[in-house]
């Protein structure tokens, strides 16, 4: 029979673990955003070498399953002498993966910026970096916000995969509790509900940001 006691008893632990889920996924999205911005700038630059590096990066991290990427980084980093905690390796892999998608999302946004806005920035003496961070990125984010929010929710869900390399987060803890209590249905339902709530909050924050941006565009 459906056991509510086990849910109530394990809820504090699950919530604690979900904090790690949020930390890992949002950290990777933040790092991935920086990678994505740089790779996008490289992709749209005049240097053929930079364009090739960016194109290869995107095709690799989009073309290989995230689970395989996680396993590669888990087993291969120590072999090449890089010894970092598995949580760091996992977040790094998540960041590289989402960075590839963010590169492609932002590319559309960058291409939608009228050339005159960049010319205006050059004429008042802004440097290339200032133009990128103060004009291009803010505008590209505004143009692509729904896709970026979507990518963030995807990463919250994808962070469940890092449980396979031994990083404690919501899914991993749910597995642990489920196997020790033999009540998998209740525990996984609860974990699923927590993911649902986290992504609901992210979507809500995205909508709030969007309505704030729309004030700028309001006539």
């Amino acid at each position: 029979m459906f056991n509510t006691t086990i849910i109530i008893k394990s809820l504090p632990l699950l919530l604690e673990a979900s904090v790690w889920t949020v930390v890992y996924s949002l950290t990777s999205v933040a790092i991935g955003f920086c990678i994505g911005t740089l790779m996008c700038a490289a992709r749209l630059s005049t240097s053929p070498a930079a364009r090739r590096v960016s194109a290869f990066y995107v095709s690799f991290f989009r073309g290989v399953p995230l689970l395989v990427q996680l396993l590669i980084s888990y087993y291969c980093l120590p072999l090449v002498g890089i010894n970092v905690p598995s949580s760091v390796a996992a977040v790094g892999t998540l960041a590289l993966c989402t960075g590839a998608y963010i590169t492609e999302i932002l590319r559309g946004g960058f291409l939608g910026i009228p050339a005159g806005l960049i010319e205006a920035a050059r004429m008042v003496g802004l440097s290339r970096t200032q133009i990128l961070t103060r004009i291009e990125v803010p505008l590209a984010v505004r143009f692509t916000l729904p896709s970026l929010v979507n990518e963030t929710t995807m990463m919250v869900k994808a962070s469940s995969l890092i449980s396979v390399v031994g990083v404690l987060e919501l899914t991993r803890l749910a597995q642990n509790i489920a196997t020790s209590t033999f009540q998998p249905l209740e525990i996984y339902l609860t974990a699923g509900a927590i993911y649902f709530v986290i992504n609901g909050v992210i979507t809500l924050l995205g909508a709030l940001l969007e309505s704030r941006f729309q004030l700028e565009a309001a006539r």
Binding site: L117, E119, R122, M123, V124, S127, Q130, R134, R219
Partner: protein, 269 residues
């Protein structure tokens, strides 16, 4: 500051692939001069202005800004494109006003003017905001400082565009058809700001279709046709006396478009 002209264009050619847009332009602009560049569409007038700002790289010739070669360095008879930072240094005293205004849509009017002061000139936030406020006052827009570009009329946006350029304290202002994207009833407010600037002694180069403005404000009118300067001189000389048939035809077309009512006694000459 150097004694020579602020802008000196010498034998400038501009090619886009096989198309020759500018074919040997020579033009000097002295301090406090207002030079209006007129001509049919496709004559190269906007391209010339964009070359002077190095928004377009010119193919041949030289452009000097206050005595410094723009965009290139001469090395043993060959010329080499200089870095973007060096271009920015040479044109630091050149302000540019665009046909499409090109205000940054995510910044308020005040931010559009203040941000370059902070970022390019390193002026502290409070002081940058104060100067930006003063510039907006100068163009009559203090009341709209907190508005985003989308909340401003075209004429207001263009005045912010002028304030943004002026805030950098340029020695010369370049205007690329500043009123062409405006509804007719909004043209006047922008031209008035430009008249005031000219009255203060600002050096200006204006690509325009506003012949009335050119006639009243310009010291020199330059008529461009097929990438060459076909006529230039005082407004009086160019509008009344220069016999160049292409110029006469251009002016006649303009006149025909803009005169919609004539009195019985006779047409205006």
């Amino acid at each position: 500051m150097s004694e020579g002209p602020i802008i000196d264009v010498r034998g400038v050619w501009k090619r886009f692939g096989a198309t020759e847009v500018l074919k040997g332009i020579d033009l000097s602009i002295n301090k406090s001069d207002v030079t209006c560049i007129i001509g049919p569409s496709g004559s190269g007038k906007s391209t010339l202005l964009r070359c002077i700002a190095f928004l377009e790289e010119y193919s041949e010739g030289e452009i000097y800004i206050e005595g410094e070669l723009l965009g290139f360095a001469q090395e043993g008879g060959k010329r080499r494109r200089v870095s973007e930072a060096e271009v920015a240094r040479v044109r630091r005293n050149v302000g540019f006003v665009f046909q499409q205004f090109n205000l940054w849509p995510h910044m308020t009017a005040l931010e559009n003017v203040a941000a370059p002061l902070r970022l390019a000139r390193g002026i502290a936030g409070d002081e940058a905001a104060r100067r930006a406020g003063a510039m907006l006052e100068k163009v009559g827009l203090s009341a709209r400082a907190g508005a985003y570009p989308s909340q401003l009329s075209g004429g207001q946006q263009q005045r912010v565009g002028i304030a943004r350029a002026l805030a950098m304290e340029p020695h010369i202002m370049l205007f690329d058809e500043p009123t062409s994207a405006l509804d007719p009833e909004l043209v006047g407010e922008v031209l008035q700001v430009m008249r005031d600037l000219a009255g203060e002694g600002m050096t200006m180069a204006v690509v325009t279709h506003e012949m009335g403005f050119a006639a009243q404000v310009a010291d020199t009118v330059v008529f461009l046709d097929h990438g060459r300067i076909a006529a230039s001189g005082s407004p009086e000389e160019v509008f009344r006396r220069d016999p160049n048939p292409r110029l006469r035809q251009f002016l006649q077309n303009y006149f025909d478009r803009n005169v919609f009512w004539q009195s019985e006694e006779g047409a205006a000459s």
